[in-house]
């Protein structure tokens, strides 16, 4: 809507309008419809890996890689194999296959480049396969009938939002560990309460775009 208003004022060209459109997609998927705090997908790594800032960042980057690639591969699969052959019922199966392969590949890369990160992420790295955010974004792309570029940006934007939330949450949890929390709330309970408060805060972005 903002784009339309500005175009009407004839202040920018069509190219710029398109660029803004894509910026809006990224903003809206990262902030407004944040995959973790608004859509509530991918809560497992949020709780599991956010103890330390470094591991949270590592996890976020790994998931970004996987999500973008999965959105890309998913779109290709849908438009060149599943749709033409009317094999829509195989969608979930093949998507999971693709995601599993990408995650395996990512695991190998992480193991090679940073053994410490590999050790730290532990079981959560292969669990990206079952991260509902990854499958969810891939399926949502199909549901919303996004174009190729749009799906790529959608995937990347969601992953960016995921990383942002993970990193912020890890920072908050590091601080929480220093505080005098009542015994019954120590550890996961207080973390969930903080996550809920963050989710409330992210609702404030709702008025940003109407995407």
């Amino acid at each position: 809507m903002l784009g339309i208003v500005i175009a009407e004022c004839k202040l920018i060209s069509i190219n710029q309008l398109l660029a803004m459109e894509f910026l809006l997609i990224i903003l809206s998927t990262a902030l407004v419809n944040n995959v973790v705090l608004v859509k509530f997908l991918g809560l497992c790594p949020l709780m599991g890996v956010s103890n330390k800032l470094d591991s949270a960042l590592g996890m976020g980057l790994a998931t970004t890689f996987v999500l973008t690639l999965a959105a890309f591969a998913g779109w290709l699969l849908e438009h060149f194999v599943l749709a033409p052959l009317e094999l829509g019922f195989l969608r979930i199966l093949t998507f999971i296959l693709v995601i599993a392969v990408v995650v395996q590949f990512t695991e190998m890369v992480v193991r090679k480049t940073s053994p410490a990160l590999y050790q730290v992420l532990g079981i959560f790295l292969p669990l990206i396969t079952t991260n509902c955010a990854v499958l969810g974004v891939a399926l949502l792309n199909i549901q919303q009938e996004n174009s190729f570029l749009e799906s790529l940006l959608y995937g990347f934007g969601s992953a960016l939002g995921f990383t942002l939330v993970l990193v912020m949450f890890a920072g908050l949890r590091e601080r929480l560990s220093l505080l005098d929390v009542p015994a019954a709330f120590k550890g996961t309970p207080i973390a969930y309460i903080v996550a809920g408060l963050m989710s409330l805060a992210f609702m404030g972005f709702a008025g940003l775009t109407s995407h």
């Binding site: 560990s177 220093l178 505080l179 005098d180």
Partner: protein, 510 residues
């Protein structure tokens, strides 16, 4: 009318302004203490290696005689404060919060107070070479008298490694209650100035600044008048703020430059010395007197008659307290030094040492230890910290056990001045957390070092066992070779003998 030298001063971060409570002792002139019955002189009253005793039990010594010589480069000798007999050398409670023992020489005065042979003095010490002055200062056992007790000769020799152009004299005395430097400057400005100039000559500086806090106007006046005839000596007034006496902050106020972390003020071309140290240098170079006495402030509301007293090193504190009339009200805390950075003492048995500038007897009201409450993250401590650190974060990390995290946010830059604990509305003992952490880190480094050594020893042992095995194997092989050779030789011999016998037989038959 401005009576002081004008100089542009810079601001320091943070700092606090406690009530200076100097009125208890400020107007008490320096008095001498009557001789105590026994003197206990520890062998380590300075930073560095302890001194090595040169006397033994039963020796008779004269006043000013050397009792222990310095060990190594960073050390200081110890001299007899009066004439008498050595009663023994052994463990005695140290002038330290822990109450642990330290090797101490016990001297029984013989009431005669006879001076021994002192080193010859130069008629004009300013004709001496800088290294000669430094040597005499070292021989007199002079250490930093502001409380740090760093051997002064080492500081004077800094000119060899750094380019020094300014000598700053620390007359700030920012700690509440203490007035000894104040009285010294008021009563002996000429002597103090002489000592200052001698140190300046030893360092080869271009200018000297005497910095005195503005709550001591008479001292400022006295020093200004004494220094009137010397254009390269400036007397500057400092704003009254704690910790103005910390040398790094003093230098920052005067020059605006911050000393690099873990560096010295010498990196900025400045050396800082205390007023009492200057007086000791004057005594050593003009009269050959070693450091055997110092001026101390005894104050606090729990002591009957607060005073500034010239005490002999080694005097038990109980003697001092009795001279000042004893304790009147409920003694809550006994502190050596000032209330902000001083050490609590376990008893008054301990002796006066070269670095004790004050003894405070505080009542409950003065000690002000409120009940500890949780941190409310008000950040008053951040505002108060003169080093620009985050006391609340560091303390939270230390409490949670992550000492490395506290080091990352600057624990090693903390000077333990106590400003943060002073302003904390929850009465949290922040400085205790930092002192614990620094001690724990030092102890872990020791452990690391020990582990390195253990590894080395274990590897050396494994190598030794291997070498033994190898040597055994080689010896075994060698023996086998020997046996084989011997057998061969034997066999050869027998064969020759047999042949010879045959020949003889043949000859005989023929």
């Amino acid at each position: 009318m401005k009576i002081l030298d004008q100089m542009k001063l810079f601001k320091i971060r943070g700092g606090v302004h406690p009530e200076d409570c100097k009125n208890f002792a400020a107007e008490q002139g320096i008095v001498d203490l009557p001789m105590p019955p026994l003197l206990h002189i520890p062998l380590q009253q300075h930073i560095g290696a302890p001194a090595q005793p040169l006397v033994k039990r039963g020796d008779l010594v004269k006043k000013g005689q050397i009792l222990a010589r310095s060990q190594g480069l960073v050390s200081a000798p110890v001299h007899a404060p009066t004439s008498g007999r050595i009663m023994g050398i052994g463990g005695y409670p140290a002038h330290h919060a822990s109450g642990l023992l330290i090797r101490t020489i016990t001297l029984k005065p013989d009431e005669k107070d006879q001076w021994g042979k002192l080193p010859a003095v130069a008629s004009d010490p300013f004709q001496l070479l800088p290294q000669q002055i430094a040597q005499r200062v070292a021989d007199a056992g002079i250490v930093g008298m502001g409380g740090a007790t760093f051997p002064s000769a080492v500081k004077l020799n800094l000119r060899k490694r750094y380019h020094i152009d300014t000598l700053v004299i620390n007359g700030a005395e920012c700690e509440p209650y203490l007035t000894c430097d104040d009285r010294l400057m008021r009563e002996k400005p000429g002597d103090v100035l002489d000592g200052i100039q001698l140190m300046g000559h030893a360092l080869g500086v271009k200018s000297t600044i005497i910095a005195i806090e503005n709550n001591k106007p008479q001292a400022q006046n006295a020093m200004f008048n004494a220094a009137k005839d010397f254009p390269d000596v400036k007397v500057v007034g400092l704003p009254t703020r704690y910790p103005m006496g910390s040398e790094k902050h003093l230098v920052q106020t005067l020059t605006g430059k911050e000393t690099p972390a873990r560096g010295l003020t010498a990196d900025l071309g400045i050396v800082v010395h205390n007023v009492a140290t200057a007086l000791a240098v004057h005594e050593a170079l003009r009269f050959g007197n070693p450091l055997i006495s110092r001026v101390m402030t005894v104050s606090g509301q729990a002591i009957k008659k607060p005073a500034n007293i010239r005490v002999l090193i080694g005097t038990p504190l109980s003697h001092l307290v009795d001279f000042c009339g004893g304790f009147v009200s409920e003694l809550e805390r006994l502190i050596s030094g000032g209330p902000m950075m001083g050490q609590p003492l376990p008893s008054t048995r301990v002796p006066v040492i070269k670095g004790s500038n004050g003894l405070l007897a505080l009542t409950v009201d003065e000690a002000k230890s409120g009940e500890q409450m949780p941190c409310i993250r008000c950040a008053s401590c951040v505002q108060a910290c003169p080093c620009g650190l985050l006391p609340l974060e560091m303390a939270a990390n230390i409490k949670a056990g992550s000492l490395d995290a506290s080091v990352n946010i600057g624990l090693l830059d903390c000077i333990s001045c106590g400003s943060c604990a002073y302003v904390c509305p929850s009465h949290i003992p922040l400085v205790q957390y930092f002192n614990y952490a620094k001690g724990e880190l030092a102890s872990r480094q020791q452990v690391q070092h020990k582990q390195g050594e253990t590894k080395r020893l274990a590897e050396a042992r494994t190598a030794r066992m291997e070498a033994i095995k190898k040597a055994k194997r080689e010896a075994m092989l060698k023996r086998k070779e020997e046996m084989k050779r011997k057998k061969e030789q034997e066999a050869k011999k027998q064969k020759e003998q047999a042949e010879k016998q045959q020949e003889d037989k043949v000859e005989a038959s023929v």
